[in-house]
């Protein structure tokens, strides 16, 4: 009987991998650092998800329950992997709770870390209470409290969403596009307009990357049905006149400086590499991508392969990723992880 698969990280990708492994009768050990499963959508309290429109607590909550009810999956919360040694088919991991796990192979689904807006001080986060992040607005919506200005709980009359906060910015060493924040912002703008129809929502962008089918369902819909306004400008500074926030920048289409008053400014924060990646790289002996995410060895051959044989990776651990693509990658990684654990030869296509 071959050994279980070690799955590290219980977000959408990890939950999908565990379920996939169990669905063909194989055992797994799911190790999660936090005290709950569900990853970013659950831990950060996201509202309605793109593109399903389902509430995160229902959609991802359902994935959690499916795993919790499966006896093939050995679940460990508040736990990390301390050491990991061996070869495919015969790995041994030592966990922070002292247990020793024998594993045939491993899948890293350790995800990402939200960009911390404090690292862009010119945009006012941490200085002004009414400068918030997309995760905070997600929580305002998912908690049912509604979108309010934190300073005095008033309904904002005018909201600015600043795109690419913590992405596409060499000044802070983050050159990647976080891929989902344009679509998430368009979706959020519609949710704000739905709750507060009198509120005007402006999105400040450099490019709009609502890729594929998201174009009409989010970008166009937000303009056509919800009258969200898009202004091509990368904001220089967010300040305050004591009453309202003042957003400064250049309106590139009219070549004129702008200083526009707003009630609420939302940072569309990006997806950073998981802060644990240096440790994960050392413990599992996997290479990192030059941007700090976990590097894939192979693009077309063995899905999810890392630089170490028998260790696979899926989801936002690889780079900014959507939930549905994370799940797809996790299923692919699960297949290859089982093959590695059972001694089947994996051959790259090259």
């Amino acid at each position: 009987m071959s050994k279980p698969i070690l799955i590290v990280g219980g977000g959408p990708a990890g939950l999908a991998a565990a379920h996939a492994v169990a669905s063909i009768g194989h055992r797994s050990v799911l190790v999660e650092k936090a005290e709950i499963f569900g990853g970013a959508p659950i831990q950060s309290g996201y509202a309605k998800l793109v593109p399903s429109g389902l509430w995160a607590k229902d959609a991802i909550g359902g994935m959690v329950r499916r795993v919790e009810n499966n006896s093939q999956i050995d679940r460990k919360l508040n736990t990390v992997v301390k050491t990991f040694d061996g070869t495919p088919g015969n790995f041994v991991a030592e966990l922070s709770d002292g247990t020793r796990v024998e594993a045939g192979s491993a899948i890293l689904t350790t995800g990402f870390t939200h960009f911390d807006s404090v690292n862009k001080p010119e945009w006012g986060f941490g200085l002004f209470p009414d400068v918030v992040t997309t995760t905070q607005v997600e929580q305002m919506i998912s908690s049912g409290k509604g979108v309010r200005c934190p300073s005095d709980n008033r309904k904002p009359k005018r909201v600015a969403i600043l795109l690419c906060v913590g992405s596409r910015d060499r000044q802070i060493g983050r050159e990647w596009c976080s891929k989902i924040c344009c679509t998430v912002s368009a979706n959020m703008a519609m949710e704000i307009r739905e709750e507060l129809p009198e509120t005007h929502v402006y999105i400040y962008y450099m490019d709009i990357r609502t890729f594929g089918l998201y174009e009409t369902d989010y970008y166009w819909k937000s303009q056509e049905e919800f009258k969200v306004k898009y202004i091509k400008a990368r904001i220089a500074e967010v300040t305050s006149d004591g009453k309202q926030l003042i957003v400064k920048g250049e309106d590139t289409l009219v070549k004129r400086p702008i200083t526009i008053p707003f009630d609420l400014v939302v940072h569309a924060i990006g997806m950073d590499p998981n802060v644990d990646n240096m440790t994960l790289s050392a413990v599992f002996g996997v290479d990192l991508h030059k941007q700090g995410f976990i590097a894939r060895k192979d693009t077309y051959g063995v899905m999810g392969a890392t630089s170490r044989d028998g260790v696979f990776v899926a989801g936002a651990a690889i780079g900014p990723e959507t939930i549905d693509d994370s799940i797809a990658q996790a299923n692919a990684a699960a297949l290859n992880a089982i093959a590695a654990a059972t001694g089947n030869n994996l051959q790259a296509a090259e």
């Binding site: 005018r158 005007h200 303009q223 009219v254 200083t259 526009i260 008053p261």
Partner: protein, 261 residues
């Protein structure tokens, strides 16, 4: 902020004082040159809503500023300042003073609809131009345009008689736009038509011109159409926040301004 593009400084935004002393320092003449700020300090959301309330303006909020309308535009090809893409942006962000700088250009749209076929978002820029020209008139920024005068005469005759009398439309139009009745081109047309028209038709036209009979049973229909026109006009006026008196006032002001020039 340093000035990188001198072309952005408009002559009317430069001010100097012939006599000026600041804190004991004489800065008269070019020493006191000030350039008015170009900073946009607020958006005016009402403007887009007003244009969208007028026929043709309904889809303005869809515009994503690709420029296809301007690229394809018949008028833009000969007058580069005619820029529907730009005006749509000014309206959407509420830069009214900027739009008003071009108020004597906007009505020059020839309604060829090349923009309408080029626009990837179905904004119908031709309609937006029409709505904008209409808006400028209703707000009193420009005097009533000849085409609006023509439409009004046309409509009045339809409502009254159920049909138009071409000669009467033309005569009233010339009168209301302060044009002489006898113009060479007109004489030519009338002469040409006269020479080719059979006598019977000519007599019929003359009879129609003199008596201008109403279409049979038109009274009720005409009244209903009139009610509808009043209702729609009222709707447009309230969307723009102009009742009759303010529009008339600003129209009068406009005429005074023109007189002063």
């Amino acid at each position: 902020m340093p000035i990188h593009e001198k072309s952005l400084i408009r002559p009317e935004n430069i001010t100097t004082h012939d006599e000026l002393v600041i804190e004991g320092v004489d800065v008269s003449g070019h020493w006191s040159t000030f350039i008015e700020s170009r900073v946009i300090s607020d958006y005016n959301e009402a403007m887009e809503e007003e244009i969208a309330a007028l026929p043709g303006g309904e889809n303005i909020h869809r515009c994503w500023q690709c420029g296809s309308c301007t690229n394809s535009c018949t008028v833009h090809a000969i007058e580069p300042r005619f820029n529907p893409r730009y005006w749509i942006y000014l309206i959407r962000t509420g830069m009214e003073s900027e739009l008003l700088r071009d108020k004597d250009l906007i009505w020059k749209c020839v309604s060829c609809n090349k923009c309408t076929y080029a626009c990837p978002r179905d904004v119908v820029p031709e309609g937006v131009m029409k709505a904008t020209a209409h808006w400028l008139e209703m707000k009193g920024h420009v005097p009533e345009s000849p085409s609006m005068t023509f439409d009004k005469i046309f409509t009045e005759q339809i409502v009254e008689h159920g049909k138009i009398e071409d000669t009467k439309v033309l005569m009233q139009f010339l009168k209301r736009t302060n044009q002489p009745l006898l113009q060479d081109w007109l004489k030519q047309i009338v002469w040409n038509i006269g020479m080719r028209t059979p006598v019977k038709w000519g007599l019929k036209s003359a009879w129609n011109f003199v008596f201008h009979p109403r279409t049979r049973g038109w009274k009720k229909a005409g009244a209903a159409i009139q009610d509808y026109i009043i209702e729609v006009e009222q709707h447009h006026k309230s969307a723009l926040g102009v009742d009759k008196s303010t529009a008339a006032n600003s129209n009068a002001q406009q005429h005074n301004l023109h007189a002063a020039e």
